[in-house]
């Protein structure tokens, strides 16, 4: 209505100036009113937007910061006083003065020896060593051992340090220290795609047996595609049945789809553990009916099969609901018309019905895929070793190996992928069309 008034005002504007009762030009008054209602709408959303920015966007930003920032070789933070002490100052100066590839001579070893004394004093040898360990395994003990003996080191420092451990002569140690000497680094992202910096600073692939992450990303991708496909195969017929039955019956059957949706994820995962165990219900039933010999019970849990079955079950409602909401309004007379014109039921389905359901398939598949890629709980519980997904590795680095920067880098890559898919979903389907039951 407001737009119409504006149009009318514009049309007449050339002839006479319309004003409101208090003498303001109508155009100005209208613009002010519209701006006011815009502001009002925004004020309603503002508290939540602020809340989500604070509790969600800022934490994720902090995570992304952690993925490119690791100061463990630059300064030490005291746990209680929060005071920071710079460490490795001399060595970092030496790195700054000498370009990459310079052979470390006596001055470098002297700087290192002085820094090791500081490491010992502020008790940071373990942390700094761990930081180097991320780039070159086996370095942590080198640092702790050398820091313990640092006070007794005397010139010439090169010989003295090589006496403590001849690993100090290894150029990879020096390359790793140079990499770690600046707090901001992209090396964790490199590590997350199985790459590392070589001694001369170029990027190269890590050795075959340490390659892990790309394989895991690929596995996550393949399993998610497979699970999406399975939910489609299982979801399509029942969505079709729900959409074509009279509402009375379909509402009842819908409960069978919605109940899993409302049931705790842990409960559903537990149920699958109970069903799929080698001494579980499915195997017992197969053995009991004589279909399976007792000694060849199928191993369905703690491997990929377990992850696939449980995740397909858990994500199936996310496929059925969008399909249903697209199928329900489809007019059955189109298919009837095709049949009356001589199409077989298969042709009528293929040419008339199926194309109309494609938006629902897109919505469901994209949603299931997005959720599957980031799944954590189910693979962690039923996946075993080869059913783990990328999320499980992020959790591993967060809680077990404590390489937080690498965890953050892996999470950053996963997040980038998810956001692209989310953007695609919004573009194709629109977030407004997301429905829950």
């Amino acid at each position: 209505m407001a737009d119409m008034t504006a149009d009318v005002a514009q049309m007449r504007g050339s002839q006479e100036k319309l004003t409101t009762a208090d003498g303001k030009p109508l155009k100005v008054a209208l613009a002010a009113a519209q701006a006011r209602s815009k502001r009002r709408a925004f004020y309603l959303v503002a508290p939540l937007l602020f809340f989500v920015l604070l509790t969600f966007v800022v934490p994720i930003g902090q995570m992304l910061h952690q993925s490119v920032y690791n100061p463990d070789f630059v300064y030490k933070t005291d746990v209680t006083t929060k005071e920071t002490t710079p460490i490795m100052v001399n060595l970092r100066n030496w790195f700054d003065e000498n370009p990459r590839g310079t052979e470390p001579e006596e001055a470098a070893y002297e700087a290192l020896a002085k820094d090791l004394v500081v490491l010992r004093e502020v008790k940071a040898a373990g942390i700094a060593g761990t930081r180097i360990n991320y780039e070159r395994s086996g370095s942590r003990s080198l640092f702790t051992k050398s820091a313990r003996k640092a006070k007794k080191l005397e010139a010439p420092y090169k010989e003295a340090l090589l006496d403590v451990d001849d690993e100090w002569a290894d150029p990879t140690v020096w390359a790793a220290m140079r990499n770690a000497s600046s707090a901001y680094t992209m090396n964790f992202y490199l590590a997350a795609i199985d790459k590392a910096r070589a001694v001369d600073g170029s990027v190269e692939a890590v050795d075959e047996k340490r390659k892990l992450y790309v394989k895991l990303f690929m596995r996550t991708l393949m399993l998610s595609i497979l699970i999406t496909f399975l939910t489609f195969v299982l979801g399509y017929p029942i969505a079709h049945m729900l959409a074509t039955l009279p509402l009375r019956y379909s509402n009842l059957l819908m409960i069978l789809v919605l109940l899993p949706f409302w049931t705790s994820l842990l409960v559903r995962t537990t149920s699958w553990m109970v069903l799929l165990q080698s001494q579980g219900v499915v195997n017992d039933a197969l053995v009991g009916t004589g279909l399976l010999a007792d000694e060849n019970r199928i191993q369905m849990m703690y491997n990929q099969i377990g992850t696939i079955i449980a995740m397909t079950h858990i994500l199936l409602p996310f496929m059925v609901l969008p399909l249903y909401s697209v199928m329900r309004p489809i007019n059955p007379s189109y298919v009837r018309a095709a049949r009356s014109l001589g199409a077989t039921s298969w042709t009528a389905f293929r040419r008339i019905y199926f194309p109309q359901t494609i938006p629902g398939i897109g919505a469901g598949a994209l949603l299931v895929f997005i959720l599957a890629v980031g799944y954590y709980i189910t693979p962690a519980l039923v996946g075993g070793a080869d059913g783990q997904l990328i999320s499980n590795l992020i959790a591993f680095h967060m809680t077990k190996s404590l390489n937080w920067s690498l965890a953050a880098a892996l999470a950053g890559l996963l997040l980038a992928g998810i956001l692209v898919l989310y953007w695609l979903y919004d573009l194709l389907i629109g977030i407004d069309n997301l429905k829950l039951g």
């Binding site: 009002r40 109940l259 899993p260 999470a411 998810i418």
Partner: protein, 303 residues
């Protein structure tokens, strides 16, 4: 979909097969959830039906695992079951404490999520809302971003701000996770909301807050309650964030289940699962009833 009378034999056979396939898929959906109920009454510490259970022998069934839920962690589980025993259970039983924590966290996070979410949904469903699409995308994103990423981010954020190991931290995190559900359900109820009603109220002299509480809120209440229930379930079922940011003694039901499943899975887990299934059935029924009421209120369905 009824089959027309002129259908060929092949079509009849296919139609029958289609019904059987659908029945099997429905069975696949629902059986895993229902199977835990009888198994939780197993008298033996197994996860399968014992011979006695299959013969419906009453001896093979027992409520010992439910009893274990009460007694696990108690100081004197063998004492006679009088008032002291029950107060001991209330104070010390691990599962009861976990349930208390879960309910407290769930209640407050639902409150925050529902209040802020409903307000925002009102703004978002106004046509004049600026940057509507972008803001909506940000507000829904906690549902889309993998929980492990959210938990990782919160871990770094909370360890810097001192919210780690606190109830406030968990409540804020769970509220964030519940917000998308509130937004989705409330905006869905606001679609087709007749704005002339609020204008009528305003023209009759009602203040904006009076209009909201006596006109808008009663009409969107079913959506608000559904959203609140979704938010509560999200919090009640959330384990990853709790594992990352909560202190060791802040046990919740899902966390206790998680530990139980990872360490030594016992049928006690199945009895918890059964109780949770019953809760989810109750919640689903409530939400369905609310949805029908809302459709009736808005004149979307005939009955």
């Amino acid at each position: 979909m009824a089959l027309p009378t002129h259908a060929s034999t092949l079509e009849r056979v296919w139609h029958r097969a289609y019904q059987v396939i659908c029945a099997l898929i429905f069975l696949f959906l629902i059986a895993p959830i229902l199977i835990v109920i009888p198994l939780s009454f197993n008298a033996e510490p197994y996860f399968t039906f014992t011979e006695g259970m299959l013969k419906l022998d009453p001896e093979a069934y027992s409520t010992r695992w439910y009893d274990l839920l009460l007694t696990f962690g108690m100081q004197a589980p063998e004492a006679p079951r009088d008032g002291n025993w029950w107060s001991d259970a209330w104070e010390n039983a691990q599962w009861i404490n976990a349930a208390k924590n879960s309910v407290i966290i769930g209640f407050f996070s639902t409150l925050v999520a529902t209040a802020l979410g409903t307000l925002a949904a009102l703004g978002l469903s106004r046509p004049e809302m600026p940057f509507r699409r972008a803001i909506m995308a940000v507000l829904i994103s906690p549902m889309i971003v993998p929980i492990i990423i959210t938990a990782t981010g919160l871990f770094f954020f909370y360890s810097k701000t001192g919210l780690a190991n606190s109830y406030a931290g968990i409540i804020l995190a769970h509220a964030t996770l519940g917000i998308p559900f509130v937004i989705i359900t409330v905006t869905a109820t606001l679609v087709g909301f007749d704005h002339s009603l609020t204008r009528a109220a305003a023209s009759l002299g009602a203040s904006p807050s009076k209009t909201f509480f006596s006109i808008t809120l009663p009409l969107i209440l079913p959506g608000v309650i559904s959203g609140a229930l979704f938010a509560f379930v999200t919090s009640f079922d959330e384990v990853v964030v709790v594992l990352f940011i909560a202190a060791h003694d802040q046990q919740t039901i899902p966390r206790q289940m998680w530990n139980g499943i990872r360490e030594q899975i016992s049928p006690a887990i199945l009895s918890v699962a059964t109780l949770l299934v019953i809760i989810s059935i109750a919640l689903l029924t409530t939400v369905e009833l609310l949805r029908r009421r809302s459709e009736r209120l808005r004149g979307l369905s005939p009955g």
